[in-house]
Symmetry: C2
DNA sequence: AATTTTTTGAAAAACGGTCTTCGTAAAGCC
DNA sequence: GGCTTTACGAAGACCGTTTTTCAAAAAATT
């Protein structure tokens, strides 16, 4: 037998049934004001009996707060952001807050975000991988309330971002340390701020080692924004690198996923990793550990937690109010794909 | 200069400024009733000028609908569900609906879901990978409204689920077709309904080929629920399989991620894939294409879309009302890891 | 017994919309 | 110039809470 259809009980139903006023029920539910033990019990019983749950919507309207934040990430496809979401979620759990997920469309990230925020009811925003401009920042704050940005710098607001240049430099230096001098780089579409920062780090490392950077050693895979960091992109870029200079002996890819694509391209061309070509990626997604791909780790989980904590403090106004910005330095993780002796842990 | 703090304009502000009544503003905004062209324009101008956005919360309260659905998935970690989310999202886009994401805790999936629904304001629920019982089903409908289940069968409600037995049989038969008879299987924790269905398919295939199933050819990796399908799980299970019977020449893993772990274990043991051991996974995650892992595909994206469409129909009551259940048959995808000639597409 | 304190009720405003009901004025039609 | 549309206002109920105010009843204290 299907359950009988029943109207959701309201605070009035509870009040009537318990023979008290709605004010008292509210007092009991929210533990505000004074209530005698026995009335509290009686009300609690009725609540239980009726299965009463305060309406979140009504509460939101009345209190002007939705207990919901928006989380924007570039797309669901990348394993890269999963850890971030987990970190966010873990901190939200204790805060009686949920999140609405928005996947930014690569082609119009700003438009899709604004559109999303426009429709939604949320108290704040956590946005990852969104290039921030001054005007967009204010737009967001107007639409979404307090905002914390992850992955790019924002002068006028809270942000956590990575030192992309140093990360790229670390990766390149690692390859140089293995004795390579013909080092290629796989990067992403031209209007990504990440692209330039990483190319910078790559070239800096080469120059410091007395190697002259060659433009034909840098390959862009797919130029569509949404595919820039993808496997396909890495695959095609690797093929291009081999065409441009078959003597390449090491490659730094801008994402692990790209590196996996590049690896496949090398396999198809009959070159082995790391013996013929050493390979290193970026992001340190979980799978990399199991395919032996060296990478640059960014500890997304931790950043997710800390960004969430910051946002919650903003929402509760339990904070100094000063803009918080942190530049996070990534870490090198050595595995077999780069041909170096692997430290104990794999 | 930071933007001056300003109260959000309400429908009254717009009405006052445009010299019309709130009813008219409402008519213009929602395109209901009759409105003259010039008033419509004037109101639109004021709305623009003031930056007025109807409050979602107020609308929700007044209309009794939140334009939000809950989506529950087992965890963020698995790449497996990304495609599902993308499918869901793509259909929700046109429906002016957002989703709240809930990651079920493996240890207490039901409790965590109920807890989540209890707090949230949503019109319906899409739940993936949740074993469904009759009582839970009603509980969910009471808490969340219309519910569509993905990945397990639900007699009293809408569901899409896979023919796990056939999938496992297809994988196993594929290995048999390659001439293998010593075929191992990697599975997951004991109380997963998937486990039994797949073991069934695996053993059926063996028996049909005249091979006697051996219990020591079935390995369970990690027994913690949250880790059952993980890389670690596959790694450990593979090691166990090799210990129990070193003559194993082919392995069917219950997830691609497990297979990747198993592959690593084989590498560590000095066995190559597919020459020494043929390998096939399950789920067909995107990366599999680029590491050449054979798999069983379930077309999550499509299911995500269709489940969402169904739920939207339920919400709009534009449907017959009859319980909809579909058993989806998975597909075999052959790549190099199973040692078979690979069809054109790779 | 007088006084203070605690607990509760009743009523209403507020949150920001939607929707309905009437009533009326302006425009369109023959 | 009478008749019908069409467009809109005014006012209020309603959605389910929270919160406040004021007063009264009950309990605890002296």
């Amino acid at each position: 037998m299907p359950p009988p259809f029943q109207q959701k009980p309201t605070i009035h139903d509870v009040a009537d049934r318990a023979g008290v006023s709605t004010a008292t029920v509210s007092r009991v539910v929210n533990e505000t004001g004074q209530t005698a033990d026995d009335t509290r019990e009686r009300v609690a019983e009725v609540i239980d009996e009726l299965g009463y749950r305060p309406s979140r919507t009504a509460k939101a309207l009345s209190q002007g707060t939705t207990r919901t934040i928006a989380v924007a990430v570039p797309t669901f496809t990348t394993p890269f952001h999963n850890e971030l979401l987990k970190g966010i979620r873990s901190r939200l759990k204790g805060a009686d807050t949920d999140f609405l997920l928005c996947d930014l469309e690569w082609e119009h990230p700003e438009a899709s975000l604004v559109d999303f925020l426009d429709r939604g009811a949320m108290d704040g925003l956590l946005a990852a991988g969104l290039p921030m401009t001054e005007s967009l920042g204010w737009e967001l704050q107007k639409l979404a309330g307090p905002t914390v940005l992850i992955g790019s710098r924002w002068a006028d607001g809270d942000s956590f971002y990575w030192d992309e240049t140093t990360g790229a430099r670390m990766a390149t230096e690692h390859l140089i340390d293995q004795g390579h001098s013909q080092i290629g780089m796989i990067t992403t579409h031209r209007d990504s701020p990440i692209r330039n920062a990483r190319i910078q780090g790559y070239e800096d490392a080469l120059r410091d080692a007395g190697i002259v950077p060659r433009p034909d050693r840098i390959a862009t895979g797919r130029t569509e924004k949404h595919a820039g960091f993808s496997e396909e992109s890495g695959y095609e870029a690797m093929k291009a690198l081999l065409r441009a200079g078959p003597d390449v002996t090491a490659v730094f890819a801008s994402s692990d996923v790209q590196a996996i694509g590049a690896w496949q391209a090398l396999r198809h061309e009959g070159r082995s990793v790391p013996d013929d070509v050493a390979l290193i990626g970026y992001d340190d997604i979980k799978i990399s550990r199991f395919i032996g791909l060296s990478s640059i780790a960014q500890n997304m989980h931790d950043i997710g937690e800390r960004a969430t904590d910051l946002l919650l403090r903003r929402l509760r106004r339990t904070d100094s109010g000063e803009v918080f910005s942190e530049l996070v330095t990534p870490e090198l993780v050595v595995r077999t794909s780069s041909g170096a002796p692997v430290p104990a842990k794999a």
